[in-house]
C-alpha cells in the first residue's frame, strides 16, 4: 500500500455518499463524449442525427461486448492480449458450425471455442502462474495458427447464418438494432456480476491482493480461470456479432479490437493494476473510443493525422481524469 493510494482513499471518503459512489472518471468520460459530439457537430450537423448515433451505438456494441470481458480480466490485475484471434476464431467457428452443421449451434459453438481458449489462458495464468501478458500473447499466436490452418485446410464456410445477421443488425424494437440490445444485456449481466455476486467481489478482491483473497479461503485460481474464460467467451461473442454485422467471418477481423478494448476500459476509470473500476466507466470508454474513431474517419483526416489525433486525445483525456494521485 503506497501513500498514494491511501491519500486517494481519504479524499473520496470525504465526499458525500452518492457522489462518492459515482466514479469521477465515469462522469468525466461521459462529459468527454458530449464534448466530442459537440465538436463533431461543428463539422457536420449529421453527427447529431439519430441514424448516425444509433449506427455508432451499434458498432460500439461489438467493442462493448469485448471490453466487458477485458474489464473483468483487467480488474484482476491481468490483461488479455488474445482478443484479436480469439474473436476471429469465435466468428469463424460460428460460421463454420452453421455451414457444416446447423444454424442452431452456430452461435453457442463460436462462443464455446472462445471460452476454451479463455480457459487455456486462465490455466496458464492461474495454475502455471505465467504472467497474463505473455500467456495470452502466445495463445493469440496459437489461435491465429489454428484459423490459418482451418481456412487453408478445409473448404471454409464463412458466411454468417441468418441468426447471426439478425442478432447484429435485426430489430426487435423498431429503430434499435439488436446489437445494442445484446450489449445492454451483457452490460446488465456484468453490473450484476460485479456488484451483487460473490464472484464479482472475489474479482475485486483478487485484483487488490490475491494473497489476501487466497488466505480468506477464496479459490483464487478458479476465479481467475473463470474470468479468463468469460473474457474469451465474450471476445468470441464480439466476433460473432461482428461477423453478423459483416455477414461473414474473415481472417484478422479482430486485429482492430485489441488496443481499443484496453483503452476503453482504462478511459472508463478502471485501474490497469486491478481491483478498482466500475462497469459504467467501461461503457463510457467504449462509446468514447468508437465515436472518436468514427468522427476522425468521416472527417477524412489522412491516416497519419488520425493516428496522431487519436493518440493525443487519449492522452489528453487521461491527463484530465485518469491520473494516478500525487504521491505526496
Amino acid at each position: 500500500m503506497t501513500e498514494a493510494t491511501e491519500n486517494r482513499l481519504s479524499l473520496r471518503a470525504r465526499l458525500p455518499g452518492p457522489i462518492r459512489r459515482a466514479d469521477p472518471a465515469v462522469l468525466t468520460s461521459f462529459g468527454c463524449i458530449l464534448l466530442l459530439l459537440f465538436l463533431g457537430s461543428l463539422y457536420s450537423s449529421n453527427f447529431l442525427s439519430p441514424e448516425y448515433l444509433l449506427q455508432q451505438l451499434k458498432v460500439a456494441s461489438f467493442l462493448g461486448v469485448i471490453a466487458a470481458g477485458m474489464m473483468l480480466v483487467i480488474l484482476l490485475g491481468h490483461i488479455d492480449l488474445s482478443v484479436p484471434w480469439v474473436m476471429t476464431m469465435g466468428a469463424m467457428m460460428a460460421c463454420a458450425a452453421a455451414g457444416f452443421g446447423s444454424t442452431v449451434i452456430a452461435i453457442p459453438f463460436g462462443i464455446l471455442c472462445g471460452m476454451l481458449f479463455g480457459l487455456l489462458n486462465g490455466f496458464g495464468v492461474a495454475y502455471l502462474r505465467i504472467p497474463s501478458m505473455i500467456v495470452t500473447l502466445a495463445t493469440n499466436v496459437v489461435a491465429q495458427g489454428l484459423m490459418v490452418l482451418y481456412t487453408g485446410g478445409f473448404s471454409p464456410q464463412d458466411s454468417a447464418p441468418q441468426a447471426m445477421r439478425w442478432l447484429a443488425t435485426g430489430y426487435i424494437i423498431p429503430g434499435v438494432p439488436n446489437a445494442i440490445l445484446v450489449w445492454a444485456s451483457v452490460s446488465v449481466a456484468m453490473v450484476f456480476l460485479l456488484t451483487r455476486t460473490t464472484f464479482g467481489r472475489s474479482v475485486y478482491g483478487i485484483g487488490n491482493s490475491e494473497r489476501a483473497a487466497y488466505l480468506s479461503g477464496i479459490n483464487t485460481r478458479r476465479i481467475v480461470m473463470v474470468a479468463f474464460a468469460v473474457s474469451g467467451a465474450l471476445s468470441a461473442f464480439g466476433g460473432v456479432l461482428l461477423a453478423g454485422y459483416a455477414s461473414k467471418a474473415a481472417q484478422a477481423m479482430g486485429d482492430a479490437y485489441l488496443l481499443p478494448s484496453i483503452a476503453a476500459v482504462v478511459l472508463g476509470g478502471t485501474s490497469i493494476l486491478g481491483g478498482r473500476g466500475s462497469y459504467l466507466g467501461t461503457v463510457a470508454g467504449v462509446i468514447l473510443i468508437t465515436l472518436l474513431q468514427s468522427i476522425l474517419s468521416v472527417m477524412q483526416m489522412p491516416e497519419a493525422g488520425r493516428q496522431i489525433v487519436y493518440g493525443i486525445v487519449i492522452i489528453a483525456m487521461l491527463l484530465l481524469y485518469g491520473r494516478n494521485p500525487a504521491s505526496r
Partner: protein, 326 residues
C-alpha cells in the same frame, strides 16, 4: 552460501534465458542444411540483434515495473527518419545517426514524462503515444522508400574478419555504453528499487522519479538504435503498423523469456537479449523443420507456449503456496 551462489541467485533469470536460447539455437543449427557457417551466423545475428535492441528497451522500462507499448512504434518512426537523414558524406551520416538517436530519446522521454509527471498508467499512455509516433512515421514515409548510407549499413550488418557478425559487436558496444553504466549507477539501482517496491524506495529517499524518467528515455534511445539498425538492415524506411506492433509484442515475449520479471525489479537487459535471440529462434525452427506452410503459424505459437511454460516448472518446487502470489 559462498560468493558464487549469491551471484547465481542474482543472475538466475538471465541464466535461464541464456539456457533457453542455447538449447533452441543448438537444435536449429543441428538441423540447418548449411550448419553453422559464417553466413548463417550473420543472418541469425542480424535478425536477433534487431529484436534484441527493442527487447533491451523494453527491459529498461519493465525493470521499473512499467511497460512501453510504444517501443515498436519508436522503432518504426526512427526507421522512417533514418531513411531520410542517414545519408551522404560521413559527416552528414554521423549527424543523421545522432539525429535519429536523439529522436528516439525524445520519444522515450515523452513517454517517461507522461508516466511520471503526467502520472498516467504506462500501458495506456504508451498505447496512445505509440499511435502518435506511428502517425509521425506515416507523415515521414507515406509509402516505403528512402535510402541510407550503404557503406555504413554494410559495415554494421556485415562481418568482421570474415567471421564475426558485426551486428553482435555493435550490440556489445551498446551494452557496454548504455546498459552497464546504467546498471552500475545509482540511477539504475533506483530503477530496480522503484520496480521492486516503489513505496519503500520512496521512503528510502531513492530518486524514483528521476530513475523512471531515465529508464523510459534510455528505452527510447535503444528503440532508436533498433530503428537505425532496421534501416541499415533494409536500406529503407517504411511506416508499417503491423511490424511496429509486432516488435512491441515480441519485445515483451523476449523480456519474459530472458528472465525479466514483468512485475519489475528483477532481471537484466542482458537477459532480454538472450530472450530476443530465443524468440527469434522460435521462428527459425520452422525453417529447418519441413513443416507444411499452413501449419507454420500454429507451430510457432505452440513453440512459444512451450518456451514460456518452462518457467512454470519452478512451480513444482514451490512448497509454500503463498509463493504463488508475489
Amino acid at each position: 552460501m559462498s560468493e558464487w551462489r549469491y551471484w547465481l541467485n542474482e543472475q538466475r533469470g538471465t541464466l535461464i534465458g541464456l539456457a533457453i536460447f542455447v538449447l533452441m539455437f543448438a537444435v536449429y543449427i543441428a538441423n540447418h542444411p548449411a550448419g553453422l557457417t559464417a553466413n548463417v551466423a550473420q543472418t541469425a545475428a542480424n535478425k536477433g540483434v534487431l529484436l534484441a535492441f527493442v527487447a533491451m528497451a523494453q527491459a529498461m522500462v519493465v525493470i521499473t515495473a512499467g511497460i512501453d507499448l510504444s517501443v515498436g512504434m519508436i522503432l518504426v518512426l526512427t526507421n522512417c527518419l533514418a531513411s531520410w537523414i542517414v545519408v551522404g558524406t560521413p559527416m552528414q551520416t554521423t549527424a543523421g545517426v545522432l539525429g535519429v538517436l536523439l529522436a528516439g530519446t525524445i520519444c522515450g522521454a515523452i513517454n517517461g514524462l507522461l508516466v511520471i509527471k503526467g502520472r498516467l498508467q504506462p500501458i495506456v499512455a504508451t498505447i496512445a503515444t505509440g499511435a502518435v509516433y506511428f502517425g509521425l512515421a506515416l507523415l515521414l514515409r507515406p509509402f516505403p522508400g528512402g535510402a541510407v548510407n550503404e557503406d555504413l549499413a554494410d559495415a554494421v550488418t556485415g562481418r568482421i574478419f570474415g567471421i564475426i557478425p558485426s551486428s553482435l559487436v555493435v550490440m556489445l558496444v551498446v551494452v557496454l555504453l548504455v546498459w552497464l553504466p546504467f546498471r552500475r549507477s545509482e540511477i539504475g539501482r533506483a530503477a530496480y528499487a522503484a520496480g521492486s517496491a516503489e513505496a519503500a524506495a520512496f521512503m528510502s529517499g531513492v530518486p524514483i522519479r528521476r530513475a523512471k524518467l531515465v529508464a523510459y528515455t534510455l528505452a527510447g534511445l535503444l528503440a532508436g538504435v533498433g530503428g537505425l539498425f532496421l534501416t541499415f538492415f533494409t536500406y529503407t524506411g517504411e511506416a508499417a503498423y503491423a511490424s511496429g506492433s509486432g516488435y512491441t509484442l515480441w519485445s515483451i515475449a523476449a523480456v519474459v523469456l530472458g528472465g525479466v520479471s514483468l512485475y519489475g525489479g528483477r532481471g537484466s537487459a542482458v537477459g532480454a537479449i538472450f530472450g530476443a535471440f530465443a524468440a527469434r529462434t522460435t521462428g527459425d525452427m520452422l525453417f529447418v523443420f519441413d513443416v507444411d506452410p499452413l501449419w507454420q503459424p500454429l507451430l510457432q505459437g505452440i513453440v512459444l507456449l512451450i518456451a514460456i511454460s518452462i518457467g512454470a516448472i519452478g512451480l513444482l518446487r514451490v512448497r509454500n503456496r503463498l509463493e504463488w502470489f508475489r
